[in-house]
């Protein structure tokens, strides 16, 4: 139910994103989805990979600082109110969203939301209770 996400620390300077992605490309690791949180000085690149263990090893060998965290992926209808429908049960359960990002899958009319919740187990319970589709794994981006 929980997906493994890798976070990579990046400095806010030209080339640092390319370096991280280059490491993954060289190791032939596919990215399911990614998001970049940025501040004026640094960024955090968040990645969901097809093979996160191999990805972590490659990034570390490449000299990058990597942290592994658990996230949830929820599939929703790609229409107005799709996100709000997910948030309602979670909010009711008193769970906080630390961050989230979204991507559109190849499947028609569906979107996938990636969440980092303050309490993942509670969130799963709430989402399941509301009949939401919490994904076991992601498709590869662009596949």
């Amino acid at each position: 139910m929980k997906l493994q996400q890798l976070s990579v620390f990046l400095e806010n300077k030209p080339g640092s994103l390319k370096k991280a992605l280059g490491v993954l490309a060289d190791a032939k690791i596919n990215i399911s989805t990614l998001a970049l949180a940025d501040t004026r000085e640094f960024g955090i690149l968040r990645l969901v990979l097809k093979d996160w263990e191999k990805g972590k090893e490659a990034l570390e060998k490449g000299g990058l600082t990597v942290k592994q965290t658990e996230v949830l992926a929820v599939e929703v209808e790609d229409r107005p109110g799709g996100l709000a429908a997910v948030l309602a049960p979670v909010e009711a359960a008193g769970v906080n969203v630390e961050y989230m990002y979204a991507y559109s899958t190849g499947a028609k009319g569906k979107a996938v939301l990636i969440f980092r919740f303050s309490d993942l187990d509670k969130a799963i319970q709430a989402l399941k209770g509301a009949g939401m589709n919490v994904l076991e794994k992601l498709q590869v981006l662009g596949a």
Binding site: S7, S16, A37, F42, K61, G63, L64, T65, E98, R116
Partner: protein
Amino acid sequence: MTLEQWNDIPGTFHPACTPDFLPLEQLRQLQLQRLQATVRRAYANVPLYRKRMDEKKVAPEAIRRLADIDQIPFTVKADLRDTYPFGLFASPMDEIVRLHASSGTTGKPIVVAYTREDIEVWSNVMLRSFAACGLHQNDIIQNAYGYGLFTGGLGAHYGAEALGATVIPISGGNTDRQIMIMKDFGVTAICCTPSYFIHLIERSGEMGVKMKELPLRVGVFGAEPWSESMRRYIIDNSNVTPFDIYGLSEIIGPGVGIECSAHQGLHIFEDHFYPEIINPETGEVLPEGAEGELVLTTLSKKAMPMLRYRTRDITTLTREQCGCGRTICRFLRVGRRSDDMFIIRGINVFPSQVEHALLKVEGTLPHYQIVLTRDKGLDRMEVQVEVTPEIFGDTVGAMEGLQKKIAKALDETINLNVAVKLVEPHSIPRSEGKAKRVLDQRKM
């Protein structure tokens, strides 16, 4: 290793036979004889020394006791630059068998020379250094000091060979290969700068080599000042017992002083190097136990005798008997140099203070750099800290919190509002040689 334990080590060398354990009276007599000969030699052969002593009306014969050394003028680094390249040599070139030179970041390097006898003395003090660290002929020593003009590589190499150990002359750099050889060759001891060894620990982790499972047990670290926190990091992340080795090219290279198994300061090989502590402002000789600048006089060097050389290293000298039994005196580990202090907005700051502040914030050691800039006449200090997996939180909030915590710790330690920048691992230049902690970009 105790002296008794040495009895079980095969081979002909035994530290008890070295001047490390000489009765003090004999040691002082030896020092006086050698000092008198060195002053005579320097006066007779080096114009700069003769001129300076003549100016002060001090003849070589004025040195009747060791304490008379305070009549001799100091020598400073600029003297070596001003007499570049060979001006301080006391031997003709046909007796000189080796030249070394400093890395020289600004202008001309300084050049130092050795006769065959000098090389023997140097090998001997390095051999005694290694023995003090508990190394012997069964050890495999990876010598990661740079070979070349820098004295570290060849100095350690000759000492390790004199000891009868197996030496791997790998020199500096190529970290991945260092780790492979360390593992494959069953290396038991390493010589390098402490910051480079920390780099090796980090890199070995990334390569999946478990440093703690290797037979590596002794590290002979020197060529840069290092702090207690770096020592702690090494002890916690490897099985290596760190030993501080002290030296400078102007005096001989590495092997001027070494930490022994008691880890209560560094012994100076007093039979070859005579130490004094002075007040760096006034030049006055300070009593035992007082903190000040270390001044060294070579007692046996032929090619390039050094009279009262000002090292700029701040330390304290003690002649109290050491737990290891050595009679030669000790000085406290050098944490700072009188010239690595910088002044920002009128406040004196030592890099060691910054390190101390960083240590207060969990896990932020050891890689940092201080960058000083000047904008419209206002000095700005920025501390760049590398983000390691231990301190990396996955949210922006956690990272900004870390930045604030570091800034607060710095403010509390040096009373200065300092900018903190989090940078990627390995983005601060690593010392294959020496860690450059302060980058002063202020245009004066």
